[in-house]
């Protein structure tokens, strides 16, 4: 790589920008619906909100084909290793959206059974507040993530 | 069953003790009668009318207050029939005519008896639409208590408390009719040492505490029961915290110790726990930069290296340990074992030159219980002013004299809080106590009447050192005299928080854990359990400081100790600390003394650790944890354990509870004392058996005879609010210290030409100071009284010789 690291190389920086933009245009989410938030996540994919507008309608059951994990719902302590395994199986670059109060912080379930925030298990890029967040809130989260990727504020 | 009567309460036939109040009898059998003014520890007045019940009498139904009606045989009572319900609704509607509905901002909201009773017994809606009465709110009636007269429901609990219980009636009703309200006397604040209790018993939010005001609401409080570590009475407290910050302490009503009352120092002295000045990281002193923050391992390594060098060179004889009275028993045991086994020294003293023989304090036989005061016919108090140093014990003695009819003899160089209830009060010059004692023993001279008062048993003697000008052995002589009285029991008095626990754990030069004497019979089994003991004779605090000042001590441990301020001879302490090459401090604050330490370890304190403490009657009680320590603080035992490991010794401490099990194994007196028992079956504590391995043989009464030179003697004594670490770092209390002053009898002042002077120059062997003069005609002639450790006062030393000249 040393030979390729030009200090201010027109070609590589522009390609990098293009690559970052391209990555935002078709992020395929892995299905990780765990509770009520998943209903809103499904609604986001349906006609009224239509995630296909962002090229994201393909919720993949196989983590190998997904770039984005939307953790939708409460993560129990027993689910945490599963969640981590799915995350580990996703190919790089990959992102995580923590959807809703439970996934983000445990929400109203401040008890021993739940992981108090999924960021204890996987690195989270965007947190979406709400209980559950409506489709528009989730899309706000997705757009926030896209903008961060384009601006290079998250590792991609 | 002649002492029992049969009453029918709501159709249930009950056997209750004759003469009991109806409200108590009903409560014991599960019928709660609502009340505001009635308090189980005070006399009934029947002011609030909330406890109205219906009695069936031959002349028809009668409405009476349950709190003023004793039960009688055949009584038929209704507490919840229609008439009574109408009464209760009426009473509550009346109470709410003027009670403001500012519950959301009221500190009492959420735990308010008035709120609860209105919800449970109230009418639901008021017919009164008129304007409520208004007062300026809230008005501070002392530094600690605020009064909101609008909220007051005139139950007289506070006025009765200050009259019946604490004996300083500074708060009273004033005005008439609709205008009746609580007030203090003009120009006289409610400056009682017990004012906080009125806040706790107020059934509404009329009296609130400045320390708790708006700090939290009841529903976000966590609470744990614990034991107060300010005085030695072992008061049970309810320790409450919100968001990892201690915000309030309430008294718990337990029969053996405090009966629900607390002194203000205990109630509001928790603030130091969350003080921003707390040490949060270990410090190392640098010659140039002062203290710098380091990691635990750096600090421990440095201490271990230096201590190792000294131990290898001159041995344990040149290492000494001061302090430990602020520790729990478990930490004190760890310190004792650390000193004896790792450091190999007997130079260990927790008493910090209060001067009394540790054997006398810890191993007195016939030790009294606090509850013995209730059955005593006569009480002799020859010791410190109980109100200043043992506030809740003071309340018990006061109750015994005032309510239970005990004869009370008080001996002290000046006035004490008990004087107004004392049957006989004797004053004397410190140093001449032996003469007075001789008179008292013989029943001659001015002590003849007092001697007669003590002739009838059972007698309880509360014996301690009246001040630092006093010969410490006098207390033992007084105790010897008390033992000759009929049916006598003795309470030896010392004032430091857990001093009795510390002595029982062996933090004294002559004692090992379980009151085993150094070199005595039991020492062998301890040596076996510990794998060795120090052999050389140990020095007490004064001895250690003198040896240190002479250069014979090379390592000095200060464990929660501030000798510069806390030892009567502060000048000696300064010389000592400056001379010792390596000082290790384990403390919560950077005190004057730990500022001179080379290594300072930050330790967990009260409310941050679990353990047990022992009070002055030998009662072992649990202290509990409710908040984490700030920053990187650790419990003392763990610091010592780590230090020992670095010095090549495994002390084998796993946890404080494991240490408590080791104490139960090693210390004979503490056999069978476990945390499980203290947490569950015996919440009020376990009294360990009195006496030690070698129960103290009292010195005969005529031995002490130090005579002070000159015609003036210094009486240096403690007061409740001083410049000690815990008070100084509790903002509510810090301003209450009375300030440095020299108290003179008007005759003495006139003789010295100081009758109209503002200040005087006080010179002792150890120091000198210019202090404002206060005239005090309760002083014995020739006694110069100076309160100890007041803010800004240079150390004056113990005296007793003193000269006072115009400034």
């Amino acid at each position: 790589m040393a030979a390729l690291s030009f200090p201010s190389n027109f070609l590589t920086t522009t390609i990098d920008k293009a690559a970052r933009w391209a990555r935002t245009q078709s992020m395929w989410p892995a299905t990780f619906g765990l509770a009520c938030c998943a209903i809103e996540m499904m609604a986001t994919g349906a006609a009224h909100n239509d995630l296909a507008r962002f090229g994201m309608e393909v919720f993949r059951a196989s983590p190998r084909q997904a770039d984005l994990m939307i953790v939708a719902g409460r993560v129990s302590q027993k689910m945490a290793p599963v969640l981590r395994q799915v995350y580990d199986q996703m190919p790089d670059p990959k992102w995580v959206i923590s959807m809703g109060a439970c996934a983000s912080s445990g929400g109203m379930f401040n008890n021993y059974a739940l992981v108090q925030g999924v960021d204890e298990v996987v690195p989270v890029d965007v947190y979406v507040p709400g209980c559950p967040p409506g489709p528009q809130s989730l899309m706000h989260g997705i757009l926030t993530l896209q903008r961060m990727i384009v601006e290079g504020k998250v590792a991609s | 069953m002649s002492d029992h009567v049969t009453v029918t309460i709501d159709g249930r036939k009950l056997e209750v003790p004759a003469g009991e109040l109806l409200i108590e009898a009903a409560q014991e059998h599960g019928t709660y009668i609502p009340r505001f003014c009635w308090h189980p520890r005070m006399k009934p007045v029947g002011m609030c009318r909330m406890c109205l019940v219906e009695l069936e009498t031959p002349r028809g139904p009668a409405i009476v207050t349950a709190c003023t009606t004793p039960v009688s045989d055949g009584m038929v009572v209704h507490t919840r029939n229609e008439t009574v319900q109408r009464m209760q609704e009426g009473v509550l509607e009346f109470l709410l005519i003027n009670h403001p509905l500012d519950c959301p901002v009221c500190d009492r909201g959420g735990e308010c008896p008035l709120q609860d009773h209105v919800m449970a017994y109230g009418p639901g809606e008021s017919r009164f639409v008129e304007e409520k009465r208004h007062f300026e709110k809230p008005i501070p009636i002392s530094e600690l208590v605020l009064l909101d007269r609008e909220r007051c429901i005139l139950c007289a609990r506070c006025t009765r408390f200050s009259e019946e219980i604490s004996g300083d009636p500074l708060i009273e009703f004033t005005d008439r009719g609709n205008g009746v309200h609580i007030a203090t006397f003009p120009d006289l604040p409610f400056s009682s040492y017990f004012s906080g209790n009125t806040v706790q018993i107020c059934p509404v939010g009329a009296l609130t505490a400045t320390a708790y005001r708006f700090r939290a609401r009841p529903w976000d409080l966590e609470a744990v029961e614990s034991t107060c570590m300010h005085c030695t009475a072992g008061d049970r407290i309810n320790l409450q915290a919100s968001h990892n910050e201690v915000v309030r302490i309430l008294g718990v009503d337990v029969e053996p110790t405090n009966q629900g009352w607390l002194s203000d120092r205990c109630r509001f002295g928790f603030q130091y726990v969350g003080s921003p000045d707390r040490l949060t990281v270990p410090l190392i002193r640098d010659a140039e930069q002062g203290h710098t923050e380091v990691t635990w391992s750096e600090a421990l390594d440095l201490a271990a290296t230096r201590i190792g060098e000294v131990l290898a060179g001159s041995g344990g004889q040149s290492v000494a340990v001061l302090g430990g009275a602020r520790l729990t028993n478990e930490d004190a045991y760890a310190l004792s074992k650390f000193a004896r086994v790792v450091l190999g020294t007997n130079h260990v003293d927790a008493q910090m030159d209060d001067g009394l023989d540790p054997q006398f304090l810890a191993a007195t036989v016939d030790r009294a219980l606090i509850s013995d005061l209730d059955s005593a016919k006569a009480i002799l108090v020859w010791g410190p002013d109980l109100k200043e140093e043992h506030p809740t014990l003071y309340l018990r003695v006061r109750r015994a004299a005032q309510e239970l009819g005990a004869a009370l003899v008080v001996v002290h160089p000046r006035r004490t809080g008990l004087d107004d209830r004392a049957t006989h009060k004797l004053t004397y010059r410190p140093g001449e106590g032996a003469d007075l004692l001789t008179e008292l023993v013989a029943g001659s001279g001015r002590a003849s009447q007092a001697r007669q008062a003590l002739a009838e048993g059972p007698v309880v003697g509360l014996v301690g050192r009246t001040g630092y000008g006093e010969d410490p052995r006098l207390a033992e002589a007084v105790a010897a005299f008390v033992r000759t009285l009929p049916d006598a029991r003795i309470l030896p008095l010392a004032r430091r928080a857990n001093i009795y626990g510390a002595l029982d754990m062996g933090l004294a030069p002559t004692l090992l854990p379980g009151r085993v004497s150094v070199g005595g019979e039991g020492a062998r089994s301890i040596a076996e359990a510990w794998g060795g003991l120090a052999e050389h004779p140990g020095l007490d605090t004064r001895g250690i400081l003198e040896a240190a000042a002479a250069g014979d001590i090379e390592v000095l441990f200060l464990v929660g100790a501030d000798p510069l301020r806390d030892v009567p001879d502060g000048a000696l302490a300064r010389r000592a600390l400056e001379r010792v090459p390596f000082v290790v401090a384990i403390d919560q604050f950077l005190t004057d003394s730990s500022r001179l330490a080379d290594v300072v370890f930050c330790a967990d304190g009260f409310a941050e650790k679990e353990g047990t403490v022992t009070n002055l009657e030998g009662r072992v009680q649990k202290v509990n944890r409710i908040v984490p320590g700030p920053g990187q603080t650790r419990p003392d035992w763990s610091i010592l354990d780590d230090l020992a490991r670095r010095l090549g010794v495994e002390l084998g401490f796993g946890s404080a509870e494991a240490i408590s099990k080791e104490i139960a194994d090693v210390a004979p007196a503490y056999r069978g004392v476990t945390w499980d028992r203290l947490d569950w079956e015996e919440r009020d504590g376990i009294v360990v058996p009195d006496g030690g391995e070698a129960p103290l043989r009292f010195v005969p009464a005529d031995t002490p005879g130090t005579r002070a030179g000159g015609d003036l003697v210094l009486h240096l004594a403690r007061v409740m609010y001083d410049d000690g670490v815990t008070v100084r770092h509790s903002p509510s209390l810090a301003g209450l210290a009375p300030g440095a002053a020299v108290h003179l009898h008007p005759d003495d002042a006139a003789r010295l030409g100081l009758a109209s002077a503002e200040t005087a120059r006080v010179v002792t062997e150890q120091g000198e100071a210019t202090l404002p003069i206060r005239l005090d005609d309760t002083l014995h002639r020739g006694v110069v009284y100076v309160p100890f450790n007041q803010p800004g006062m240079p150390p004056l030393g113990p005296g007793p010789a003193v000269t006072v000249t115009p400034a």
Binding site: A47, H48, N49, D50, R53, A101, S104, S105, G106, G107, M108, N110, G117, D119, D125, V126, Y127, V128, P129, G130, C131, P133, G134, Q136, S137, M139, H140, G141, L143, T144, M148, K153 | L101, D102, P104, V105, G109, G110, E125, V129, K137, P138, R213, F214, R215, A216, R217, W219, D220, H243
Partner: protein, 209 residues
């Protein structure tokens, strides 16, 4: 043969909807973020702390909201009002007021618990954050400005419609402010944020006179 006819059936539906959308009829999709769906009047969005028309804070720091909160997302600390320059009417005001939006479940129990109607909810719900710290709204972000406008941590967020901050959720109180049960169920709410401005209770003037 059966397969082909079923395929034809399905494609007919797709084709019909496709053709209709070409002429712009029957599209249900909201083109967020270019357009925003209108939220129902009683929608629970982010909170706002209100002021009285004279500019005083309504919050008295009583912590009833924190007590009512099922998710323990509210942290309030009270303090004494300075007598000559009070923040709120009465003795006490909330000098710390924080809501952790990531714990909040937007149930509005805090709004119901509030004795002074200090905390109400707006319609703004789009407030994703990239770190947990950002999700904690402090008093600075919750308390409306004296002019009635509501601050927001990201005032330039292109994906949120900040005018939703001006819309208050409507809610029905159980009793009148005076506590009289006669007004139970009477609808008394305003549908915009800003200083409270509803009409007095019907007989309030006669009672005050």
């Amino acid at each position: 043969m059966g397969v082909m006819s079923e395929l034809w059936k399905g494609l007919r539906v797709t084709g019909r909807i496709g053709l209709r959308s070409l002429v712009g009829r029957g599209i249900v999709t909201t083109e967020y973020p270019k357009e925003f769906r209108t939220k129902p009047q009683r929608f629970h969005g982010r909170h706002v702390l209100n002021r009285y028309p004279d500019g005083m804070e309504k919050c008295i720091g009583c912590e009833l909201c924190a007590g009512a909160c099922p998710a323990q997302c509210i942290y309030v600390r009270g303090a004494d009002n300075a007598p000559d320059d009070p923040n709120s009417p009465g003795e006490r005001f909330g000098y710390v007021y924080e809501i952790n939006m990531l714990r909040c479940i937007f149930c509005a129990l805090c709004v119901e618990a509030c004795p002074t109607e200090a905390i109400t909810m707006t319609h703004l719900f789009e407030m994703s954050v990239t770190s947990r710290e950002e999700a904690i709204y402090t008093k600075e972000e919750l308390l409306m400005r004296p002019d009635g406008t509501v601050p927001h941590p990201r005032p330039d967020d292109p994906y949120a419609d900040l005018s939703e901050l001006e819309v208050a959720d409507g809610w029905v109180r159980a009793t009148a402010p005076s506590g009289s049960a006669a007004y139970e169920g009477v609808k008394m709410w305003q549908d915009t944020a800003g200083p409270a401005s509803w009409d007095p209770e019907p007989d309030q003037e006669t009672r005050d006179a």
